[in-house]
Amino acid sequence: MSLEDIIQETKTFYCLDCGKCTGLCPVSRYNPAYSPRVMLENALFGFQDDLTYNHDLFSCLTCYACSSKCPGDVDYPLFIQKARALALDAGQHGDCAHSGTVQSLARLMSNPGVSQNRLEWLSDGLRISTQSDTMFFVGCAPYFEHIFDFDSGAIDAVKASLKILNHCGIEPVVLPNERCCGHDMLWTGDVETFRRLAEHNAAIIKEAGVKKIIFSCPEGYRTFKEDYPKYVDIDCELQHISEFLADRIAENGLDFSEVKRKVTYHDPCRLGRHLGIYEQPRKVIAALPGIELVEMEHNKEESLCCGTSAFVNCDSCSKQIRVDRLLEAKATGADTLITSCPKCQIHFRCAMTNKGEEKGPDVEIEVMDLVNLVANALGDGHNE
């Protein structure tokens, strides 16, 4: 795809040069060199090298804070996604966090011959089946469990999701040869790896013959919903677990024990601005007896990003964004920050470890996935 094609596809030519994107961009607040408006300006002037060799091309969080308010409705995150593919062709790939482990794992997984020990975490009476119409997509949580030197909480969220589904009488299909959805590959410009992962997943899902797939990871959900249809055929109903729960609660209610917490909810960009799901997680929280939900200053459409996307260009600016968000959460007086995305959780938990700082700011707050909050209220205290 040429720069000209990218401009056409993302409607970049509608740019009014008004600067609203840059004013809204969480990265531009801390990185004065980075401006979405100037990125587009360079593209429109045809300065391709200024785009592809710009280190900050990989700093964009693709959080849609800019595009959701852009008066010209320019799809900047999509522009970035496509421009990164150009950059990758030119040998540029940004700075991969965690020594590039996440990216390497995704590339390894794209090899159809690799076999994984993917269900090691499955225990504690959690029930899956091979016959169900419903599949649960696990995503990269089993890997996240081993990558970070702090408790990422990712696999606990998967277990909690399964517990919820079991409680609702669903013993879902969980595929042992499932692969990374390819989200990070697509958003860092490696379209070829993404395509291989998508094709693999599409094939095994077709073979499993399921009719519905439930996700707890909003990145997987977004990728299946918005990106897979351009490459593969997934003929299934797709649902995020917060939507599943909101439906169940509305239909026949679920018996929850009392939750004595004051919580605030962080909208993950993929679930919120990417897919417009703001109300379902809040309905689920509101259904828990005894809980109090307070909103942060930036919520729903204005929610702030957790500071890194696709595990690339994670730097001091990312840290500052996370710290700001945690301070906003603290300012609400909540004791728990609920989110609905494993990566948001990882990034917030990482920020609280205060790596590289002798004395970090006071940002300690319990961070928990929505599914853990719900699973804990479902009775046996399994995930407490």
Binding site: L16, G19, G23, L24, R29, P32, K69, P71, D73
Partner: protein
């Protein structure tokens, strides 16, 4: 066949069209939805680029229009049905009950003074309250009070245990005996030869631009609210104050342009008058208090009318107004309820924040919400933005012969343009009824 003309909407365009026709010897029925003619112009403090007091130049026209021997002014009335065709339209008008006999009321204000019930003051854009028995505004024409049945104690609370009405203070104090709680809505049938639509605009509600915090932050107001705040007949008597409880006089004011206009998520078009009215509002602020520094955040300054560019230059040079090229990204608020503006200065390419005392949103102007209903009644076509459709070489003709449109109801324009169109529409209507 009828030689009378119906004018729908009693703002400056409707008034001008009525006056022109009346002066030509045609009979005009002017139907106005609110209790007084005057429209949006009556709500403005001053007009650009001359800083004329808006009501001072409008009020004589309102009075002339009302007093003219060839006009019948039907306020607090709505057009319900139109049948027929050019030269011979039959119009049904609903004249709503004021609960005050217009022939007896002297407009003395005694009922208003003694009325115990309060209601939001819509003329003042909901800033402050008025009484349930009220005059629409100080210079209302006709100068006839009315009773708001939604807030009147007698009409909302029912009878006491012993079967007596709960209130009747207005009736007791009215020396003219004008209060009439038994008054009923009336249907009036008119026969006219031509119709002029002049229904004007509504300000766009900026609540959906959540990033600007309107309604969330007290010191973020719309331009129409600001016009009332700075107007001597407004809710603060023209003392420009913040709306937060501190009641402080603002010293720095930010004007945000293109709020809901030139925006594919809201209204695509340029509202055409905001660059100038914000410039005017910033000048007025400085005239009220020379310590006030105003900032106008713009994408392009569209000063394309007579004397407009000079006006902008004068604002910069003489009235402490700074223009910053940026579409404001977000408005937050600090602990002192001061709005904090985040923006990219596109000239210096830097993201900055600025804390100000007051923010004024130059909201887009959109056709009145009932334009759709009126279009259905008149069978006229609307364009994609719900403005009445006209064509370049017949700029006041709607899609139905004998029905004309002038002023903001057919597209963005300022007061002089609306007046010019009104005269054009009057001339076109006169051709039919002559």
């Amino acid at each position: 066949m009828s030689d009378a003309v119906l004018v729908i909407g009693g703002g400056i365009a409707g008034i001008q069209a009525s006056l022109d026709l009346a002066d030509m010897g045609k009979h005009v029925y002017l139907v106005e939805k609110s209790p007084s003619i005057g429209g949006r112009m009556a709500q403005l403090d001053k007009t650009f680029p001359t800083n004329d007091c808006s009501i001072c130049i409008l009020a004589p026209k309102m009075a002339d229009c009302y007093d003219h021997s060839n006009t019948t002014i039907l306020t607090y009335s709505e057009v319900k049905e139109i049948t027929g065709s050019a030269g011979d339209f039959t119009v049904t008008v609903l004249k709503k009950a004021r609960y005050v006999d217009a022939k007896k009321c002297t407009g003395c204000g005694e009922c208003t003074e003694k009325c115990p019930a309060k209601a939001p003051d819509l003329f003042n854009m909901g800033l402050g309250t008025r009484k349930a028995a009220y005059l629409y505004f100080l210079q209302a024409v006709p100068r006839v009070a009315l009773i708001d049945q939604e807030y009147c104690i007698r009409m909302t609370k029912g009878l006491t245990k012993d079967g007596k009405p709960r209130c009747g203070v207005c009736k007791d104090v009215c020396q003219a005996g004008a209060i009439d709680f038994d008054q009923q809505d009336e249907e009036i049938t008119l026969n006219v030869g031509a119709i002029i639509i002049a229904t004007g605009f509504d300000p766009y509600d900026p609540t959906s631009l959540t990033e600007y915090g309107y309604r969330r932050y007290k010191n973020v107001v719309t331009a129409m609210e600001y016009e009332r705040l700075i107007c001597a007949s407004g809710p603060t008597g023209g003392h420009l104050k913040r709306l937060s409880a501190d009641d402080r006089d603002p010293k720095t004011i930010a004007f945000i342009q293109c709020v809901g206009s030139r925006d594919l998520h809201h209204n695509k078009y340029c509202a055409s008058v905001c660059c100038m009215h914000s410039t005017k509002e910033a000048i007025l602020a400085n005239e009220h208090d020379p310590e006030i520094h105003s900032y106008i955040f713009y994408i392009d300054i569209r000063a394309s009318g007579k004397g407009f560019q000079d006006y902008v230059a004068r604002a910069k040079k003489e009235y402490n107004v700074t223009y910053i090229r940026s579409r404001v990204a977000e408005i937050a608020q600090d602990a002192g309820e001061n709005p904090v503006i985040w923006y990219e200065d596109t000239n210096s390419r830097q993201v900055k924040s600025m804390t100000v005392d007051l923010v004024v949103l130059a909201t887009c102007m959109v056709p009145r919400t009932d334009a759709v209903g009126l279009a259905a009644i008149t069978h006229t076509a609307l364009d994609e933005y719900k403005f009445f459709q006209t064509s370049p070489l017949a700029p006041v003709d709607t899609t139905i012969p004998g029905i004309f449109a002038c002023g903001y109801c057919q597209g963005p324009m300022d007061i002089p343009e609306s007046v010019a169109q009104a005269s054009a529409a009057a001339a076109r209507a006169a051709e039919i009824v002559s």
